[in-house]
Amino acid sequence: MDEILKVEHLVKTFGTNEVLKDIDFSVFKGDVISIIGSSGSGKSTLLRCINMLEDATGGRILYHGNNILDGSIDEDQYRTKVGMVFQSFNLFNNYTVLGNCMLGQTHVLKRSKEDARKRAMEYLEKVGMEQYINAKPRQLSGGQKQRVAIARALAMDPEVLLFDEPTSALDPEMVGEVLDVMKNLAESGMTMLVVTHEMAFARDISKRVVFMADGRIEEEGSPDQIFNHPQKERTKEFLSRFTKTLKD
């Protein structure tokens, strides 16, 4: 199997606070991995280290075998390959929906305007936002913003997409539309790493589930293993809080 990312002994400290302790795991092509765990366990920090928004303190992150932390690769080019979708959308407020989806293509990938526009439209259609190309972010609902943010990330043709709680900032009635888009993406073979509190999504859509606690990977396995036969006490304890919601 084609290994895109391999995280080895990753450590991240903020001052004296060790947030990530010896993290090891791999992302293969076509993987859909859900990362679950309680608040403060280091899930966001892990994604931000992988996207290089935070500098890892120790360990290695291999991208197709090359360590991205030793300064040997072009950071910006790497980021085009490893896209990120944020909880707070982070759409550019000074551009329209279409502009948001074109900016990176024209300025980073140096695509022509027509080409960028064509691809932007293609992905906006995929997320059902093609009618809103002329809107500014402030004119959209949260769910619509997140769908545009996904289209913006897709337009860069990334190999992996990182999602950091993409539905946590949304009103309940908008969560579904974003999860539907992500479900379609997963089914189309996109490699995804999703930090989520949506246990139904983690159980039904992902191929692997990673449970984090206190900056470590406590348990990792198939959704069936994690949700139906958890081995560790902490996993059971964490999941027991969600069993009610999962039964619905």
Binding site: T80, F86, N93, L109, I133, M156
Partner: protein, 266 residues
């Protein structure tokens, strides 16, 4: 009829008839200095504000870090000195200092441009710094996450939003500059206030000359503030947007208008 026999309004009209052209010239000089120097001040302010808010790259060595620190220190000194002293003294300091120490005789125009720009730049630097900080961190993270460089992120995403946020202060600075060019009369720049002093000195009609000049100043500043307000609303773009649709059977026009208030199309 002599001036002594005229009433208030007749004197104002007399001043306008006799000195209208000088007043116009003075007003034009004032406006040219104010507009050019506000613009140059913004350029200086953006340059200084950008440096002040930039962090050393994580891979940069001790020399680069030291250099950035030194430059920031010098710029902070510049900002504090020029914000902390009266512009009238700065004008005297630069104008007479240049001729006494360097033997350079700055002309009226270059002296005026240098002094007001450098002074405005000091104020704008702080404004721009605040403007950059007011753009939420998520905006640059969003840009970095799709591979945009620090420079592209600043130029395309952060600075345009910072500029929009500080437009009211830029307008404020322009209006202050229109009024404050009057301190340049200390180095003999023939602007609107200088013209006022000449007229009042020649005719001994201080009240009427002051009234006329005040009205002119007010017209200038009021017009500018209206124009700037208009530019601001232009920058915000339309409050409605067009829903694009390819379904030409449903919408013969191809576009429908989305109305935020009603939440539907009309």
């Amino acid at each position: 009829m002599t001036i002594a026999e005229m009433n208030f309004f007749q004197r104002m009209i007399y001043i306008l008839q006799r000195y209208g052209l000088s007043l116009l010239e003075g007003a034009a000089t004032t406006m040219v200095i104010a507009i050019v120097c506000t613009f140059l001040g913004c350029v200086i302010g953006f340059a200084v504000g950008l440096i002040q808010t930039s962090e050393p790259h994580k891979n940069s060595g001790i020399f680069k870090r030291g250099l950035l620190k030194t430059v920031k220190l010098i710029l902070t000194a510049y900002v504090e000195v020029f914000r902390g002293t009266p512009m009238m003294l700065q004008a005297a300091f630069i104008y007479y200092g240049m001729s006494q120490i360097f033997g350079i005789n700055l002309g009226m125009w270059s002296a005026a441009f240098i002094i007001v720009s450098v002074n405005t730049g000091a104020y704008m630097a702080e404004t721009v710094r605040g403007g950059i900080l007011s753009v939420e961190a998520g905006q640059s993270e969003g840009a970095r996450a799709i591979g945009m460089s620090h420079f592209q992120t600043m130029l395309l995403v952060v600075l345009p939003q910072a500029l929009r946020n500080i437009m009211p202060q830029i307008g404020n600075n322009l209006i202050i500059n229109i009024k404050d060019t009057c301190v340049l009369s200390i180095i003999g720049t023939v602007e609107l206030f200088f013209t006022f002093r000449s007229i009042s000195g020649a005719l001994y009609t201080y009240f009427e000359a002051a009234s006329v000049t005040m009205i002119i100043y007010f017209i200038l500043t009021f017009t500018c503030s209206r124009i700037l307000r208009y530019i601001e609303t232009k920058m915000d773009g339309p409050s409605n947007f067009d829903l694009a649709t390819s379904d030409t059977l449903a919408f013969t026009s191809g576009m429908t208008r989305y109305n935020k208030k009603t939440g539907g199309t009309y």
